[in-house]
Symmetry: C2
Subunit: 375 residues, 2 copies
């Protein structure tokens, strides 16, 4: 891997495992822990790259599976790679496609070689393997790429989890061998289901391989919260201190803060932008549903102390109006707020870590939150 | 009317009636002739105000009828007016609602007093009159407002057109009397159908009233092109030289250029943004349909010499991809191009007028255009 990639841990909170650092990438340095907005189809839904950057985004995510289906990785490659294609010049991360093969595709069949499935767009037969996933991701050209994995359902039998996790390990080794570009950082994905010994074993095995970072997979797919946090604990324990840790697919306040406390550096989730498109706005006190009548004449911003573009320029009455008339710009404004909300939460978390008060910061956030529906 | 409003004619093309000027408004000075993008629901569909401004927009339009229905003018007023509500701080124009009463509402009944109709959102009974239209527009607070008119269908009998146009004249006088704000410029609307003498008579009558500008209405509703241009000619002849002239609802290249040649200063149309949302992009050679297979690997911008944000940063292959996957940001990028396209055309038209070569400029634009489907 190019010397331009690596995590520099600058401070570890004295009372928790929370770490503050800088992640160096070929497209710039970003601070950790961080929340990464998701641009599935090589676009952050409804936002321009400038609007995303104005939210303080560090890394943004794009989905290998989706881009493989449309427009196809070869077209992105011919366009000069993802950064140029989508006009985002900060760091980009692509996932392995494993989660989508698991969650979106039909007629899925997994063998030692890889996974065959039917794609939902044209019904065509597809084949993903460690080599194929790396090939696609090399064509896409993100800064950070993922090893192909099987995302194991929850719950699953110990026998199945053990067998699948061993296969994901063999796939991880094949991915490392298949990799040809030296300007992309390849992460291994820790599976192991909800079985602590299998998680730890999976992490130990991967830790011994020359990955540039580690993802924690198979989480946030239906397991209870405490089970998820235990998975994270088990996965992280054997991982090297000096490599970034990425908890995939979580984006609610509590998951982010608990993850940070356990030593996670990177998070991503479609939830904040999906919620935004449906008029659900994140605040420190709970979720606000912009379509409610009570906001019809509310000429205040979503959050009085929020520094996002939306809160600086628009009122809840305007956002409600846009929602009610079905105007897309409302989705843009709502998405900006929700993305900035999580990025700002991470900014404050980093400050708390630097000052060794992360636990107190987390308690304060929990105390301020008073939505009975939960995070 | 406040001294801050008025058209300063700086040059009239020596060989045509095309005029170059500056329109002073309470929210800034803008050059004419100009194309005004339409923000029906107090939002330029899919664009932020900054993105609209970056297209070089002068005045933008909002629709009285739509804003009356949702969210209601009183809410916009309480929000501090349209500029503040929608965060657009350049000049704004609202229409009279007459065209929408004519084209959108059902169970329409017109009397001397005004028009009753059913609104299409909640089925409620509505009443628009000259006084109501002014009241709504004063609450909305645009810089330029319109007198209430009946938009006469085409074709219509001479008798009906004569009767309706006389009523629109009486409505115009009532509107002038109803007006209370002195920081808004009120325009009269010239109707008269396709009957030259009725058009001229309508324009003469309105020209004698103290309007700040004149709109040419009842055009672009199905009449042949040459009939429309004749209507414009007949309407403009009696109008004062020193007041702005606004040809409502036209936005194709030929209508803009013919209108400018006849002495029109202002144009608006939803067409460029509506086309954009459907993937139809304006170019100097004709319309380009971005979903076509031929653009799949076309890594060039929509127009090589276009200075819009979209052409500066994105390829046709990317725009096609966004269209095919149904991503809203594609609509944003397409709209930016189409709006900038018409605004740039008007910028060039102004330069041509200043140099007394407007006729040659128009011929050059026509000669370069080679779309057999027409403008």
């Amino acid at each position: 891997m190019s010397k331009s990639f690596g995590l520099e841990i600058l401070h570890v909170d004295k009372k928790t495992g929370a770490r503050y650092g800088i992640l160096h990438t070929p497209h710039g340095d970003v601070e950790t822990p961080m929340f990464m907005p998701v641009g599935t189809n090589a676009t952050l839904k409804m936002l321009s790259p400038e609007q995303v950057a104005a939210c303080g985004s560090g890394v943004v995510l794009a989905n290998t599976y989706h881009l493989h289906i449309r427009p196809g990785a070869e077209i992105v490659k011919k366009a000069g790679g993802l950064h140029k294609f989508m006009n985002y010049h900060g760091p980009i991360l692509t996932d392995s496609g494993g989660f989508q093969v698991f969650s979106l595709a039909s007629r899925r069949k997994i063998t030692e070689d890889g996974a065959t499935f039917r794609n939902e767009i044209d019904g065509g037969k597809e084949f993903f393997s460690p080599e194929v996933a790396i090939g696609i991701q090399e064509a896409l050209g993100a800064d950070i790429i993922m090893s192909f994995d099987e995302c194991i359902p929850y719950p699953a039998s110990r026998e199945y989890v053990a067998r699948s996790t061993e296969r994901t390990y063999r796939w991880a080794k094949r991915g490392l061998e298949a990799k040809t570009r030296d300007d992309q950082a390849l992460f291994g994905i820790v599976q192991g289901g909800a079985y602590p010994d299998l998680r730890r074993h999976a992490a130990e095995q991967l830790a011994a391989l020359p990955f540039e970072g580690y993802s924690i997979g198979g989480t946030s797919i239906g397991e209870p919260k405490d089970v998820c946090f235990q998975m994270v604990r088990d996965a992280i324990a054997p991982l090297p201190q000096d490599k970034p840790r990425y908890l995939m697919g979580v984006g609610s306040i509590d998951y982010l803060l608990e993850g940070v406390m356990l030593g996670v550096d990177m998070f991503d989730c479609v939830l904040p932008t999906r919620l935004a498109r449906h008029g659900a706005l994140l605040t420190r006190h709970g979720r606000l549903n912009i379509q409610r009548k009570e906001y019809e004449e509310d000429f205040t911003p979503i959050e009085a102390d929020c520094d996002c573009y939306t809160c600086q320029h628009y009122t809840k009455a305007y956002l409600r109006h846009l929602y009610k008339v079905g105007e897309g710009f409302g989705q843009t404004l709502n998405s900006i707020h929700n993305i900035r909300f999580l990025i700002r939460l991470m900014e404050e978390a980093r400050e708390a870590i630097k000052n060794d008060v992360f636990a107190e910061f987390k308690e304060k956030i929990y105390a301020d939150f008073n939505d009975p529906r939960g995070f």
